[in-house]
């Protein structure tokens, strides 16, 4: 292109011709580029400058004065650009130099094309890297493989940045040279970043040194490495933490598995111990009415002030309960008292109404009201032997049913001093009848509830504090009973208190772990073991995976101590995370469970978070225990895994070659995992069996029959148990068994404790409506010859006769005054058809349905013993009704003749027998119409009625509680749930943990052996065959676990049985001693028996439960799960065997 052409083009370009400019660009680009390069030296910069020059030229070509001077003008621009560049470059030359260095470091290195696939090349590369001087190698691995910065590398190898940089450069140069030398024969080269090369070597397991035959060299190099981590200063922890974080971020799944077990353990422990505290709070709330540890009974009101002075400050006296005496109706007496402290009044739960405020007002417990047979309501008047009061409140059953010990005495039955509830658990006793007003004036004695931690620092709740004892003794207290469980002794002592003794009695509250808490502890312990195993299993796997990285770190000169420091830091961080999560989760779970319990099971809304020393004194702090567990499990896991890792697998003895299947098993064998799996599964199995037994025991009870064989009777029998019901429509029936335990006055209507039969909900409601009339009828035989009958109606003492008489109608008064004997009996009603069936059992007289229905005759049914009457005998049969429960307000007397005496044989039809006979030795029997004719309200209609029939015949029923079968089941379920919800939960979590460990194990075993299994496939083993073999191998674990668990359970049962026998023996001995009046010995033996009973859950009858069926079920489930899981794990095997082999090889 000549000058003219250029000028011409420039002119065109000036006029906006882009094509012309493009031609100029093409012509001058190389020239400007060369010019720029000469000026700035760098190719990159030259390129930039050239581009910038042309851009500027294009923009400002309009300002070009003469087209001929285009070339000079262009170079001018270029020169300016160059000058600008050099100016800027000068400013950050230093930075740029560094950047250039770094860029040089990350430049790819030329490697043989097949470096990534050819093992040969890899090994060659390996030896190249191995041949580097140790400091260079260290620097290189840290920089390229671990992605540390040059500064960090410098810090790690203990030098400055410049030096590190140099080392890295030299290392690169050496590697480059070596590689070129090695594969000089025209091999294809590919550019590869060095970091990828190192990573590739590591994947192949070559970098670890263990796989190649250079172990010795590596060792020597490692020892000779001058670096050292030991010289590291402040940056050490950070760098070590860096390694750790890097590993975990690459192995999130392992981290999740590890934390799953750890967090769950921490949460389970935290939650369980919170539950224990909660349970304890509820238990104390149920059973103890005090806020403090020491309850001091002060025999005389005058001594009260002195006690306050001696023992308390304002803080310590939480309330005084004045016991003013005993009150009751008839013979049953209960403590009556007042409380002066609103706080103490407030904690008493009321079913309805309020607590009394004046002396004329009264609040009574529901159970006690039932005992009185009082069916009135709040607002009614109630007459006790201490006077007539206005009933202002009914105390809920929760409160007073836990204190039946309040029944003080009963002369007739001599039962008053039995301070034990049904489950033989002694209770602390308190009034369940409260009046208002100032009780201090006429109190017989008062209970001061103390809570004085200032004077008596809390030591141990199970044994009284010496200091307290000393203090009280010094101040004139006569210490008597060690704890409230010896109520009888307390009571005896009360009776002996003389008025002039100053202070006589101190009862220590002996508060112990509740039975539920004990069980909870066992299961928490079991789940902790499983969690520890699970954590160890996971860690073991993780450590195996990290072996390569670790040996590399060791090779670059990290001392053993440093490795330990690193693991410790890691362990600490993990513990921190795990604990925080666990505590949060545990607390949350506890709160949620409590909420659910409160709403679904009517449990008390008390949480386990408490500082109440009564609770904290007995149970361990949930958070501390959880934290300790969390720390412990990881520490153990780390120590254990660190010990196991790196140990060479022991090769078996060289014997004759094994059979094919043994060979497969041998390959598959993973002792560590198998042991952990077996242990986990055994524990779960044991837990499930134990849980089953606990539950089984709540559904019924074992009793010995006549033959001495143990029979299990369910509390609810949905199939109506022994009753062989023939009629199809009798699907729902009801059975009520009213027992009159203590004569006329004790009208508690007890359900048959052994068995409930039920009716459907609708009928139950109908019945309930009918029965809520409050009628309490009773029949009795009022006139009798000389024959003594059982069940004499006990209106024993003159006082009682008077009392009943006062509350009775005129006829009844006359009857009582006449001094005629009354014998309680029962009248049963049956339909004609049923009665006709009895004709074959008549032993005297004959059945005349007509006369029965007219009320003229009744039948006398004898079930046991000799008949007391013969046909034709005349009786006065009385039927009483009462609304208040005491006195006879409505009396019907009628004269009837015994039409026939029927003796029921023992082997007669059960349904029939049930329909016409009471469980008592004898009863009267008539028809419904007959009973109605003579107004016999107290008759019980006991024929099994179908749903449709029952409605019409109800008026003859009595005031018992009615439950439908379903309601009954629900109630029992609720009771059981209340008792076992927390245990169930812990078992559930435990199983979750255990199964996780087990499942993990199965998958892990197969994954870890992918290589071996794939080789077997390659040489011709069908997948099916391998799977079958491995499944069979796996099933051995459930087999061993089931057998172990069953065996252990049998052992536990034997222990319990043994304890039970001992318990029985001690009780018998105690009774003997008591009979001989040897009370001290009696108490000793009794206490011993109680201890055994609590320790070995003797009350549970668990030794009777057969664990075989649940074991088989659990075993079957485990087998199925194992089979399915093995199948699933085998899904990882693809048709591409070669791929599996190479994948597995890498894993190895």
């Amino acid at each position: 292109m000549n000058k003219n052409d250029i000028a011409e083009l420039a002119a065109k370009a000036k006029n906006g011709d882009n094509a012309a400019f493009e031609k100029l660009y093409k012509e001058f680009y190389p020239k400007v580029y060369y010019f720029a390069k000469q000026n700035v030296g760098s190719l990159d910069a030259a390129e930039d400058i050239t581009a910038e020059t042309f851009c500027a030229a294009m923009e400002s070509i309009g300002s070009l004065r003469s087209e001929e001077s285009f070339v000079g003008w262009l170079y001018c621009i270029a020169y300016r650009k160059c000058a600008d560049h050099i100016k800027t470059a000068e400013l950050d030359r230093k930075q740029r130099e560094q950047a250039a260095q770094l860029a040089a470091l990350s430049e790819p290195i030329m490697l043989p094309d097949d470096y990534a696939v050819s093992e040969q090349t890899k090994q060659q590369l390996q030896s190249v890297i191995d041949s580097l001087p140790s400091d260079m190698r260290s620097a290189m691995i840290l920089y390229y493989y671990d992605n540390l910065s040059v500064a960090e590398v410098a810090r790690v190898i203990g030098t400055n940045e410049n030096n590190a940089n140099q080392k890295l450069h030299r290392a690169r140069q050496k590697i480059k040279k070596q590689i070129e030398k090695l594969s000089g024969k025209g091999t294809l080269f590919a550019a590869a970043p060095l970091s990828a090369v190192l990573a590739n070597l590591e994947n192949a397991g070559l970098l670890s040194g263990a796989a190649v035959g250079t172990v010795a060299a590596v060792g020597a190099a490692a020892v000779g490495v001058p670096v050292t981590l030991s010289r590291l200063s402040g940056g050490t922890a950070k760098t070590l933490l860096g390694f750790t974080l890097k590993y975990w971020s690459r192995h999130k799944k392992s981290l999740a598995a590890l934390l799953f077990s750890g967090v769950l353990l921490c949460a389970v422990v935290c939650c369980a111990f919170l539950m224990i505290r909660q349970d304890q709070r509820r238990w104390i709330d149920d059973n103890y009415d005090t806020h403090g540890y020491y309850t001091v009974a002060i025999p005389s009101p005058t001594a009260y002030d002195e006690v306050i002075d001696l023992l308390s400050t304002d803080e310590t006296v939480r309330g005084t309960m004045y016991v003013t005496g005993e009150a009751g109706i008839g013979v049953d007496k209960f403590q009556i008292g007042t409380i002066d402290d609103p706080e103490n009044l407030a904690h008493i739960p009321l079913e309805s109404g309020r607590m009394p405020q004046t002396e004329n007002e009264i609040a009574i417990g529901r159970t006690v009201l039932n005992k009185f047979g009082f069916f009135g309501n709040v607002g009614d008047d109630i007459t006790l032997d201490t006077g007539t009061y206005k009933l202002v409140g009914i105390i809920s059953k929760d409160y007073d049913s836990a204190r039946p010990g309040t029944l003080i005495y009963n002369e007739n039955t001599n039962q008053g001093n039995t301070y034990y509830t049904d489950d033989m658990k002694p209770r602390y006793y308190m009034p369940v009848i409260f009046t208002g007003g100032d009780g201090s004036k006429n109190a017989k004695y008062s209970w001061v509830m103390l809570y004085n931690t200032k004077q008596f620092p809390y030591k141990s709740i199970t044994s009284p504090s010496d200091e307290v004892e000393k203090y009280l003794e010094q101040n004139g207290f006569d210490i008597y009973a060690a704890h409230a469980e010896t109520n009888i002794r307390l009571w005896d002592h009360y009776n002996n208190i003389s008025a002039d003794t100053k202070f006589n009695l101190i009862g220590y509250q002996n508060i112990d772990l509740s039975p539920t808490s004990r069980k909870l502890l066992i299961f928490t312990g079991l789940s902790a073991i499983i969690a520890v195993l699970s954590v160890i299993a996971t860690l073991k796997n993780i450590f195996a995976e990290r072996e390569n990285t670790m040996s590399m770190l060791r090779r670059i000169g990290m001392s053993k101590r440093r490795v330990r420091v690193m693991y410790t830091i890691e362990c600490l961080v993990l513990t921190l995370v795990q604990t925080a999560l666990g505590l949060g989760l545990g607390s949350l779970a506890h709160i949620l469970i409590t909420k659910a319990e409160v709403s679904a099971l009517d449990k008390k809304d008390l949480l386990g978070f408490t500082s109440d020393p009564l609770v904290t004194g007995i149970s361990l702090d949930p958070f501390i225990v959880a934290v300790l567990c969390s720390v412990f499990v990881l520490a153990i896991g780390y120590i254990f895994s660190a010990l196991l890792t790196g140990r060479k697998r022991r090769l078996g003895r060289r014997t004759k070659p094994h059979s094919l299947y043994r060979c497969i098993s041998k390959v598959f064998a993973n002792k560590g995992v198998t042991v952990i799996q077996t242990l986990s599964l055994s524990l779960i199995c044991f837990g499930v069996l134990f849980g089953y037994m606990v539950y089984h025991n709540t559904t019924g009870s074992y009793q010995k029959d006549e033959k001495g064989e143990v029979q299990f009777t369910k509390y609810i029998d949905t199939k109506y148990g022994e009753l062989d019901l023939e009629q199809d429509d009798l699907k729902e029936c009801y059975n009520t068994n009213i027992s009159f335990e203590h004569g006329l006055n004790d009208l508690t209507l007890m359900k048959n404790a052994d068995k409930y039969h039920g009716i459907d909900d609708t009928t139950a409601d109908t019945l309930d409506n009918c029965f809520s009339t409050g009628l309490l009828p009773q029949t009795f035989i009022a006139k009798l010859g000389d024959t003594e009958l059982k069940y004499q109606i006990a209106i024993g003492t003159d006082e009682e006769k008077r009392f009943i008489s006062d509350h009775s109608c005129a006829d009844a008064k006359a009857l009582i005054a006449s001094d005629r004997r009354m014998y309680r009996t029962r009248t049963r009603l049956a339909d004609k058809a049923t009665i006709e069936k009895l004709s074959q059992y008549v032993i005297s007289g004959s059945i005349d349905i007509g006369k029965l229905s007219s009320g003229e005759q009744m039948l006398f049914v004898v079930t046991d013993g000799e008949p007391l009457y013969i046909a034709g005998d005349k009786l006065t049969v009385g039927s009483s009704m009462t609304k208040q429960g005491y006195g006879i307000e409505d009396l019907t007397l009628c004269d009837v003749q015994i039409g026939a005496v029927i003796k029921l044989p023992k082997d007669m039809d059960r349904v029939l027998r049930y329909s016409v006979s009471d469980s008592a030795d004898y009863n009267l029997l008539t028809t419904v119409t007959g009973a109605q004719k003579i107004g016999l309200h107290g008759a019980m209609y006991t024929e099994l009625l179908s749903r449709d029939e029952i409605g019409d015949k109800l008026p003859l029923g009595t005031g018992f509680e009615v439950f439908s079968l379903r309601q009954q089941q629900k109630q029992i379920f609720k009771q059981n749930a209340q008792m076992y919800i927390s245990i169930g939960l812990v078992i559930l979590l435990m199983s979750l943990l255990g199964f996780a460990a087990y499942f993990n194990g199965i998958g892990m075993k197969i994954r870890m052996k992918e290589y071996q299994l794939s080789i077997m496939r390659a040489v011709g083993t069908p997948l099916k065959r391998l799977r079958r073999r491995l499944t069979l191998d796996s099933i051995r674990i459930p087999v061993v676990s089931a057998v172990t668990a069953y065996g252990s359970m049998r052992l536990v049962q034997q222990l319990m049985l043994h304890a039970h026998d001992k318990y029985e023996l001690l009780n018998t001995q105690a009774a003997d001693q008591a009979a001989q009046g040897n009370l001290d010995r009696y108490h000793e033996l009794f206490d011993k028996a109680t201890e055994i009973s609590q320790k070995y859950l003797v009350g549970s009858q668990m030794w009777y439960v057969s664990a075989l069926l649940p074991t088989l079920i659990v075993f079957a489930v485990m087998c199925i799960v194992t089979i399915l899981l093995t199948r699933r794990s085998f899904k990882m095997f693809t048709p591409n065997i070669a791929y599996s082999i190479s994948k597995g090889r890498k894993r190895r």
Partner: protein, 217 residues
């Protein structure tokens, strides 16, 4: 006779699809000793795996005389491999938990072979004194000889070798090669060797070169 028909193997789907083999038609006669060569990534190992039934072809078929491998299920294919094919891998791939002897006898036991001339085999392979040892206690050459013994124990007609000398030093590699040659000559076994070593390839009676998943000649 081994014959492939339009043998194709692709990995992945859609845009990431990689064709390892794109329609290979080759025929190998009984008693031939064939080397399959090619650059890395040319599909030679894939071809060998497909020939040995270690992988399933995406398309096309492999015939052993009249048997079409693609019609066999895992169990039948395993049995076929067991009886007709012996594999020799580059990494020997002995099962580390088993002794050399157990490794060698494994296929024989699997095939329920009663009479096994293993001692002859061991003598021939010069590993008699190492048979009770575990692979980790043996040298590379010994391991590879044991692997060959394992491949031969069921007297298969075809021996497939994937870089059999790749992990061996020169001397051991030569030994292995002469062994394979001997088997080919004396027992008329069909030997197919995948290699990138031209020395080895030159010792075979025929060379099949793969390039970009196709047989060049």
């Amino acid at each position: 006779m081994i014959k492939t028909q339009n043998l194709t193997k692709t990995y992945g789907k859609g845009e990431g699809k990689v064709t390892a083999l794109g329609g290979v038609d080759i025929t190998i006669k009984d008693g031939e000793m064939v080397a399959i060569i090619g650059k890395s990534g040319s599909g030679k190992s894939t071809l060998l795996n497909l020939l040995g039934g270690l992988d399933k072809a995406t398309e096309g078929k492999v015939f052993y005389n009249d048997t079409d491998l693609s019609t066999l299920n895992d169990t039948k294919l395993s049995e076929f491999r067991l009886k007709n094919i012996g594999f020799v891998f580059q990494f020997f791939d002995l099962i580390p938990e088993l002794t050399a002897e157990e490794n060698v006898l494994f296929p024989a036991k699997l095939a329920k072979k009663k009479e096994i001339a293993e001692s002859d085999l061991y003598t021939a392979l010069d590993i008699t004194d190492r048979v009770k040892h575990y692979p980790s206690e043996m040298s590379g050459g010994q391991q590879q000889r044991a692997a060959i013994a394992r491949a031969l124990i069921n007297d298969p007609d075809v021996i497939l070798c994937d870089e059999p000398t790749g992990n061996l030093d020169k001397a051991s590699g030569e030994e292995v090669m002469s062994l394979l040659k001997k088997l080919n000559k004396e027992q008329n076994k069909t030997v197919i060797i995948v290699t990138h070593d031209s020395d080895i390839a030159s010792q075979c009676s025929r060379i099949i070169e793969l390039s970009d998943g196709r047989a060049v000649n």
